[in-house]
Symmetry: C2
């Protein structure tokens, strides 16, 4: 089943094109127009160039794309992220979801500029795609009930067996039962630097696309790979020095190292913007139980109680070389890891949004969803809608866990939930459904943080805070004026960072030394790009994404928040979302 059209060489990055019907891999030169793109921008470019925008997302014409960001491969702090993409079965539009971990690094070591997975298997069946310097190989994946089988397993067991078989140094991208069932909330899990399958490209249902291609896992074995060529190593090192210093010195880095993403919980609360009980309030009375401070305290206690081998870590790097280390390892009272990381968005969506004010309970819900390989934001929002439909009581975490297990077991109810909040709302006739383009919002109530509301409404990706979060900006978040301008700037920058492979927190460092971005690129590739490169890349990415969506049939009518947010005031401050449609429609006029 192995196939390769040219001798192994990792010095010049290539496009690896894998066909799951013929089970072959072609390694091709990178087209000129793709060369200077990476990550999210390259995903968008390939989608526009190769995928018919109106195609069935789970059919043979969709493609699953893996594109490391332009800066990946050097263990720069928070800059080794991988973009995974395709046409989203959840939104029906363009989709890029990125993740940290080790996959991007190993892809670059293998010289893979972009991995394009095409077509569908002729017969039902599951495969492991093995990629190494020798090319591609398809290994049959057996039923998880057999000794080395994988099919039907959660990502933890599956990853364990894969690492046993392929060696502990490989990188993995794999799906859980969610992706196998082609659920629209399913993502693709990747290993963190400690080989935990915990870095999920979560959003938009890319796990279902991988499932439709018959792939349970992709193994990236860079044992015979090599570090990427750097045109001007000295210059690169200089940039690296300036950047690393900036990252370390930025005051937010310390905050995020200590508190992780949950640092933002109190801030959201103070703005009345903490999604609570299915987005019916911005104010959760048990907020202190789930704040970043409580989270740190809890982890510290569980780490220091002289428990031999306790896995608890308040700060943890998901990627080798990261100095921010916003990740954490949340352990139980015996020091055993429940989940890593426990992030703010999950705490909001699976916690406050469900009326649950207990970190350990939230961590267990998080872990259950992670193992199925499904997006905790989407599922948290979905369970909120399910609560509105009477399927659970707010605050009842055991019932929430049962419902997540329904997803794992693939019952009819589980399949509804596993397809996300929009479908769940439709099936149960609930009209308070916090989605845009069918994708759930995360932990920032858009009525109270209106700039982020503009981002949710207008980003081509469907509601997604990572496309342009505005909560840290010094503006009146309740004032509709100027929010579109703010969102525009953020969206451009974030699309740029996502194309570089830079984590949102890398932005802290870059904000102090913005010139190092072009310096990195020019010393790495020798391209001579201007200092506006980040924005140029961001704009190019957004332009391509909007073009794909336009061809897929999206219009301004899709760039709107759900109706209930425009007519139901949000306690305690009682705003509605009132950014004018004209402002929303002007976000991409730059």
């Amino acid at each position: 089943m192995a196939s390769s059209d040219q001798q192994s060489t990792t010095s010049t990055p290539l496009v690896w094109r894998v066909n799951v019907r013929t089970r072959t891999c072609m390694r091709e030169p990178v087209p000129e127009s793709w060369l200077r793109l990476g990550g999210r921008a390259l995903v968008a470019r390939i989608l526009v160039d190769e995928v018919p925008a109106t195609c069935e997302p789970l059919g043979p014409y969709n493609k699953l794309l893996f594109c490391p960001g332009l800066l990946v491969g050097h263990m720069l702090s928070a800059c080794d992220r991988l973009s995974i993409g395709g046409k989203s079965p959840l939104t029906g539009g363009v989709k890029e979801a990125n993740a940290g971990g080790t996959t991007g690094l190993q892809m670059v070591y293998l010289g893979i500029k972009a991995l394009i997975i095409e077509d569908m298997p002729a017969e039902p069946g599951w495969w492991v795609l093995h990629l190494s310097a020798h090319g591609a190989r398809f290994d049959k994946a057996e039923d998880g009930g057999s000794e080395h089988g994988l099919v039907g397993l959660g990502v933890h067991d599956a990853a364990h067996r894969l690492l046993e078989k392929y060696g502990s140094n490989v990188a993995l991208s794999l799906i859980g039962q969610g992706g196998e069932m082609k659920l629209c909330a399913s993502g693709i899990q990747n290993l963190d630097k400690d080989h935990r399958p915990s870095r999920i490209a979560a959003r938009g249902g890319l796990g279902a696309v991988m499932g439709s291609k018959g792939l349970k896992a992709i193994v990236f074995d860079a044992a015979q790979g090599q570090k990427p060529h750097v045109v001007d190593p000295e210059g690169f090192k200089e940039a690296q020095k300036a950047y690393t210093k900036a990252v370390i010195e930025h005051p937010q880095s310390r905050v995020y190292k200590d508190y992780g993403t949950t640092a933002v919980a109190r801030m959201a609360y103070s703005f009345g913007a903490l999604p609570t009980r299915n987005f019916s309030s911005g104010n959760f009375e048990q907020m202190e139980n789930i704040s970043g401070e409580t989270l740190r305290q809890t982890i510290l206690e569980r780490g220091k109680q002289n428990i031999p081998g306790s896995e608890a870590q308040p700060s943890h790097a998901c990627m080798p070389g990261c100095t921010i280390q916003s990740s954490n390892v949340f352990a139980d009272a015996n020091g055993k890891c429940i989940v890593s990381p426990l992030e703010y968005e999950t705490i909001a969506l699976m916690g406050t949004n469900l009326g649950i004010g207990n970190l350990e309970q939230i961590a267990r819900l998080n872990a259950a969803a992670d193992d199925i390989g499904i997006d905790t934001i989407e599922i948290g929002a979905t369970l909120g809608v399910a609560a509105e439909a009477g399927l659970l009581k707010f605050g009842d975490w055991e019932r929430a866990l049962e419902l997540i297990d329904e997803i794992r077991r693939g019952t009819p109810l589980g399949r509804i939930l596993g397809n996300g909040a929009a479908i769940t709302g439709k099936v149960f006739g609930v009209d308070r459904v916090p989605v845009v383009k069918n994708q759930a919002m995360s932990g920032y109530e858009p009525r109270a943080i209106k700039g982020t509301g503009v981002t949710y409404a207008t980003t081509p990706q469907g509601a997604d805070h990572t496309c342009g979060l505005t909560i840290r900006d010094k503006v009146d978040h309740l004032d509709p004026k100027g929010q579109a301008d703010l969102s525009r700037t953020k969206q451009i920058n974030m699309a740029g960072f996502d194309s570089l492979g830079a984590c949102i927190f890398a932005g802290f460092g870059f904000s102090l030394v913005p010139q190092v971005i072009s310096q990195f690129i020019n010393t790495r590739y020798g391209w001579g790009v201007p200092v506006t490169f980040l924005q140029d890349l961001g704009k190019e990415s957004l332009k391509l994404e909007r073009e794909f969506n336009r061809l897929a049939g999206f219009t301004p009518a899709d760039d709107r928040l759900p109706e209930f947010m425009t007519r139901e005031p949000l306690p305690p401050l009682n705003p509605v979302f009132d950014v004018p449609n004209e402002d929303l429609d002007g976000v991409f006029n730059w």
Copy 2:
């Protein structure tokens, strides 16, 4: 709870505007621009004028509209149809679904040009809206478990209780459990001339809209109403004479009187266009068991076996005065009515499409769905998708009946199915889903009848054969050429007929004496319209519908058949759907 803003008068038709929050009714003069519209065209006009196209279909901004066609009120053969409309929760676009029966007649007798139902109840609860010459009254609907209660009952029991309470001469529009649960496949049932709740405005989920308005039923009591004013009674009578003669003499009338809509089954079969086993074949090997001839034979036998009071009727008028009588009453071996009517589209979707070749079994599935108040086309297509997902075996009618009962009981599985084929496909990861704009196709395979495929793809209503069926036209149905032109002509005419209140079979009569349409209108209303009135009305209707959809966010990408039909050849003749997109996009260029 009664309210009325002006003295009862039925001489000048008015707009009745009912608000379900305040439980009041305003009777208003008809706006100038609505005057010459009726039925489907008036639905489209009101939607464009009053409903924000992007609104939540089950929210307060959507409106439920009842508009009799322009010819309704005179018991002209097959011309008393009522259009019901609103924004569709199934398609997200414009929706008009029409039905025969007695509701349209009584509305006209009450002088109701259009009934507009607005807003949402402030509190959950169910009501019966009673309309009479005295105005509107809201009566509380109690739980069906109580003696006179209605809530939770199927349409047969509910209609029975309503007729007991309000008198047997009223007309009713009511919903079953499907509409109560706001399922997207739910319609609105109306009484036929024998007081059976069997004339369903089935398509597009208008039952859910009625459910969202908190109305279990609307009672139309025209006891003190009056026949509509006719400007030139002699001229009208003359037109009526010519029209009735034409209807009786048209050879197709006899065919439809004898065989009902099922007359077309053999024709569809001969073209390889009979939807079979979830649209995977156009050829059903048991076709003879379900043909129009077998249907007629079966009903005749069950009618003539000297069974006292046998209800079996091979020909039956759904509306008073209809000479075509394409309806039927399908009875069991003891002469007891199972369902009325058993129609071709149901036989195709719940029969051949499910691999079921037994009329009595199909009739029982039909009856079960009817009683829940759900669309048999949508549910038949949904069960086909469910079979593909492994939820039933093709041919297993008892399992199909169980699944329909899941819908009635509102189990999670039932709610999935009750929301239609598109959602069912999504939830279960099936990619062979025969829908356009999320609405299921009916009994004509578009790969083998390509003109009808063009209609399915492009009609603003979502896949719907009644918007322009081409099977009876003498063309090569497999040739993609010219099909867009054919569909255009049909769609214009059908939109015209739907605006007149004329049944598709009235078209047979009108085709022989086309000038009587303007003669009817001019002698009835004194407007002086040209002989092109039918087409003018049809074009106006389509223009408005497309405008509403455009505002709702529809684009050419929505005017496409499902992808599988463009790549999977259809046995036995193996066509794919290959009408070029440019042709589809040119259908409305006239």
